[in-house]
Amino acid sequence: MALRIDCPRCGPRSVHEFRYGGELRRPPDPDWDAERRLVDHVWMRTNAEGAVRERWFHAFGCRRWCTIERDTRA
């Protein structure tokens, strides 16, 4: 079964209507210097196994961004 993404405006739709926009970022570590914060923001990801919050763009629908919660083990 294909993954369904629950768009808050359009309801549950096939993942193929969406573009993945990455995991919701955590706030930068205040102890890090500006360079390290930048590198972390641009490249590094938590890549959690389990519950995640992520951004999706409903390209073939309402054409708006939404934040969804999902389990990456499912």
Binding site: M1, A2, L3, V15, H16, F18, R19, Y20, E23, E35, R36, V39, D40, V42, W43, M44, R45, T46, N47, A48, E49, V52, E54, R70, T72, R73, A74
Partner: protein
């Protein structure tokens, strides 16, 4: 299946001791091969490989077994060419038949843009040391007569490249071959031992925690495949890895007919016929990240349709099984090998959809780094620090599909 049972009996499952020079976490191809090269090339035999399941349970047993070097950047061409050459000598080296077969690879183009990309690939590959030729439709028809040059009307084959040294090998046999050879040299291969944490002394990683107690280590190597991000985070290391599912399927067994591996970037598909006669078809990674290794009907329907577009003769074949793997994808589609920034912890990850073909070169490079303390030239471009230094090895066009 019987083959696997015999092999598991042939390899005694070791119980880990309390301390080793090198503890490798992850009993897949990269972890086991790193242990083998440490023992065989560098005389370091005080090594254990800890695997929470059975060896080869992850992507080492789920990949589509293509070995090739026709990449798009010089660093990758040299690296995978070395790997391809090591694979060619692997049966002699390990004393095991790993069913290595040279098949050749035909990468077809369906458009002017695709054709130019393949033309550039052939020129660049030759310049950096692998054998790739630019070929027209006539030659492609000779290499694989079953291809529909009209591509069902929508995907005409206008040319492509031929990579004659591309091969396949039986992935379980590669894993078991490395495991046996490493064990013969004194490495402890320990399936069924789950690492639950890292032992740190100050900032330095000095061992791992397991259910049976801690194991001290001079060096810990993280070779855990899809779950590298969480593992590295225990040492405060952040990785640019996102884990995506990749699905594949095979048909029933049929008489040998399709000689080369066939690849189409536009159709996001690649296929080959295994020595057992199955037609093995793989696709792009799934768009969403995930750790599940289930495989679904919409993948099967779409992928089968695209396969038939290229090879109409597959139309009536029966599908035997489908499966999924969890791929540790990097943003530049190149692996991450070497230092992590945490003392005592090395990593080999970001093997995405190109891990099987990289086993010999990645593992021998990492073993050389551990054995000599110097980063070998072949793996130097693939350090984790390349992201902070803005020296990424971007090669999506070569690695994305397989």
């Amino acid at each position: 299946m019987n083959e696997h049972v015999e092999r598991q009996i042939a390899l005694p499952a070791a119980t880990p001791r309390a301390s080793y020079d090198v503890v490798i976490v992850g009993g897949g191809g990269h972890g086991l091969a790193t242990a083998y090269y440490l023992a065989s090339r560098h005389g370091i035999t005080d090594v254990c490989v800890l695997e929470r399941g059975w060896i080869g349970v992850g992507n080492s047993g789920r990949n589509t077994t293509v070995i090739r070097a026709n990449y798009g950047i010089p660093e990758a061409v040299r690296f995978y060419q070395r790997s391809l050459e090591l694979y060619e000598g692997l049966e002699a080296e390990l004393g095991r038949d790993v069913m290595h077969r040279r098949k050749g690879l035909v990468w077809v183009a369906h458009s002017e843009v695709g054709l130019r990309a393949q033309m550039a690939r052939a020129a660049q590959n030759r310049a950096y040391g692998t054998d790739t030729e630019f070929v027209g439709p006539d030659r492609i028809a000779e290499l694989c007569p079953d291809l529909d040059l009209a591509g069902g009307g929508a995907y005409p084959i206008v040319g492509g490249t031929y990579h004659p040294r591309a091969s396949t090998a039986r992935h379980d046999r590669v894993v078991w071959g490395y495991a046996e050879a490493a064990a013969r040299l004194g490495v402890d291969v320990c399936p069924g031992v789950e690492v639950t944490g890292l032992v740190r002394s100050g900032e330095r990683v000095v061992g791992v925690e397991t259910a049976a107690g801690p194991i001290a280590a001079g060096t810990v190597v993280c070779a855990v495949g899809a779950r590298a991000s969480a593992f590295a985070a225990q040492a405060g290391v952040r990785l640019p890895v996102v884990t995506h599912p990749l699905q594949a399927f095979v048909t029933d067994h049929y008489a040998q007919r399709i000689e080369p591996v066939v690849v189409s970037s536009d159709l996001m598909i690649y296929l080959s016929q295994t020595p057992r006669g199955e037609i093995l078809v793989g696709a792009e990674i799934d768009p969403q990240p995930g750790y599940a290794t289930r495989s679904g009907f919409d993948f099967l329907a779409g992928c089968a349709h695209r396969a038939i577009t290229l090879l109409p003769c597959l139309r009536d074949l029966r599908i035997l099984r489908q499966w999924g793997g969890a791929c540790d994808m990097t943003p530049d589609y190149s692996p991450i090998i070497g230092a992590t920034g945490a003392d005592g912890l090395l990593i080999t990850t970001g093997w995405g959809t190109w891990g099987f073909k990289g086993i010999p070169a990645g593992a021998s490079g990492l073993a050389e780094l551990i054995g000599t303390g110097r980063v070998p030239e072949l793996i130097a471009p693939f350090g984790l620090d390349r992201f902070a230094r803005d020296r990424t090895c971007a090669d999506r066009g070569s690695a994305g599909t397989h």
